[in-house]
């Protein structure tokens, strides 16, 4: 059975299934695979079933709250859900349940979604591995991060959509590595109230879904309702102009990724878009701006924990937080200035070439093994925390919407993602471009071995 929101919603509306049956199926699938996958950190079956029963009663009474009504969803464990602890993948946090929902969870519930549980996050949402979660395509490999649990859960068919956060790529990275769709909306579009921050000026919340339409439905719900995003995705891309980014920081890429990327650009051209090479030299300095901002903002939030319980923080994250304390504030101010310079440069390049959107590899590599520290590109060796951020971070800095959509697999069958971006506020357009690409390439990424039938 197709387990997209659209398919499940149709089955609910026709009476073929119930929300209770969907939650029961989720609980069974979780028992079957999540011991190997580690995608959920907490599930409350009684609460989820009670929410499902409420949705079924509403539907029976003639109330239809929209596409998400009665659909089980996952929520990254940095987002408050009343009754669940928010642990952020860290022993720093208590097991006490949150008293209230984050604003986005309130919006999802208003749209009728059923919270299936909380998904695994990389510690403090600050990393690209998300241990102990695994990649459904190969459980010896990472799902990416920091929203790795959300991506693994959607990829394995446990839920059709899950909520993630993205400060340097944490929605798009795991989406690309797990063969699903991940949308980072325009900065500020989706509320972060009730969400543990990493770096407030770069944090974004958004959906990871099995299809572009699922992400559009989720974005509609996350932003308070209506069908602004889902209703406009079918227009196609004929006549659009897209800028193709292949220079650093998008290069170097693994050969299989490069082949898939160029094939994807050809598909976009076959769909009627004009694709033009684009070089934005300011993007060479993406990592300096990104990592000049995150440490200080993260330190401001975690200063007390760093002072009182530093041994409970992973050493790599501890180093980043300490950096926020010891590097001169002038570097932070200069990084903020650099961020604006980069954002303006992207806008200027798009205006100058009269572009509707940008195309780039979502990531330069496929999923690394859990033992890997570095990735190798010819004679270049790079730490995975750089490799898995350098292609996504430009759009955290610019605040533009950016989406990763599956575009192929490497020789080992591991998924590859295509990244699309549009101007700030043009979230509907980026979904439309992604939907056109998805429709033309459906089936190019088979479901993973751990997909639960």
């Amino acid at each position: 059975m197709n387990r997209s929101i659209a398919a499940l919603g149709a089955a609910l509306r026709s009476g073929e299934t119930t929300s209770r049956a969907l939650v029961e199926a989720f609980l069974q699938r979780r028992l079957a695979v999540d011991g190997r996958l580690g995608s959920f950190v907490s599930v409350d079956p009684d609460s989820a079933l009670a929410e499902a029963d409420r949705a079924d009663l509403q539907r029976a009474a003639g109330t239809d709250l929209g596409p998400l009504h009665g659909i089980p969803i996952g929520v990254k464990d940095i987002v408050d859900v009343a009754g669940y602890p928010t642990r952020c993948g860290s022993p720093l946090y208590s097991d006490a349940p949150a008293a209230t929902d984050a604003e986005v969870v309130t919006n999802l519930r208003r749209a009728g979604a059923v919270v299936a549980g909380k998904t695994t996050t990389h510690e403090l949402a600050c990393g690209v591995v998300s241990a102990p979660a695994s990649n459904p395509y190969d459980t010896d490999r990472v799902p990416g991060g920091s929203s790795g649990g959300s991506a693994a859960a959607v990829s394995a068919g446990l839920v059709p959509v899950a909520l993630g956060s993205d400060t340097g790529g944490s929605i798009r990275i795991p989406a690309a590595l797990c063969g699903i769709v991940g949308l980072k909306p325009t900065y500020g579009l989706v509320s972060v109230r009730g969400v543990e921050p990493l770096s407030t000026s770069l944090d974004h919340l958004g959906p990871l879904g099995s299809t572009v339409l699922d992400c559009a439905h989720a974005l509609d719900a996350l932003t308070g309702g209506g069908a602004r995003y889902a209703s406009g995705i079918d227009g196609g891309i004929a006549g659009m102009r897209l800028g193709v980014l292949t220079d650093p920081p998008f290069a170097p890429m693994q050969p299989d990724v490069e082949r898939s990327f160029h094939a994807a650009v050809s598909v976009l051209e076959e769909l009627g878009a004009t694709c033009v090479p684009l070089h934005i030299r300011e993007l060479d300095h993406t990592l300096a701006a990104e990592f000049g901002i995150i440490p200080l903002e993260a330190f401001r939030h975690h200063a007390l924990s760093l002072r009182e319980r530093p041994e409970l923080i992973d050493p790599s994250i501890r180093t980043l937080l300490v950096a926020g304390a010891v590097i001169p504030e002038s570097i932070f101010r200069r990084a903020c200035k650099a961020r604006s310079v980069i954002a303006r440069a992207i806008i200027s390049a798009m205006d100058g070439a009269q572009l509707d959107g940008l195309v780039s590899p979502a990531l330069p590599a496929t999923a690394s093994t859990k033992a890997d520290q570095d990735l190798v590109y010819g004679d270049v060796t790079e730490h995975i925390s750089v490799s898995f951020v350098r292609t996504t971070a430009p759009f955290n800095l610019s605040g533009q919407p950016a989406i990763s959509v599956p575009c192929g697999t490497d020789r080992d069958g591991l998924p590859i993602g295509l990244q699309l971006s549009t101007r700030a506020g043009e979230d509907a357009l980026v979904l439309r471009i992604a939907a056109a690409f998805e429709a033309a390439t459906r089936g190019s990424v088979p479901p993973p071995a751990l997909y639960t039938r």
Partner: protein
């Protein structure tokens, strides 16, 4: 450890031994790599505090 780094650690109340090595690594990396890249992009020298970021109109 550089005296300036030690002073900033102390000023931030970060006195645990587990933080010293982190501070040394962080300081070296951030100073050498970030500062030089930022120099190339926006030039050397301090800048005023930036206004809140607006993606539709980055200042």
């Amino acid at each position: 450890m550089d005296d300036a780094v030690a002073r900033r650690l102390a000023a931030a109340g970060l006195v645990s031994p587990v933080l010293d090595a982190a501070a040394i690594g962080a300081d070296a990396t951030m100073r050498d790599e970030l500062d030089s890249s930022l120099d190339q992009l926006i030039g050397a020298g301090d800048v005023p505090e930036q206004p809140p970021f607006d993606p539709r109109n980055p200042s």
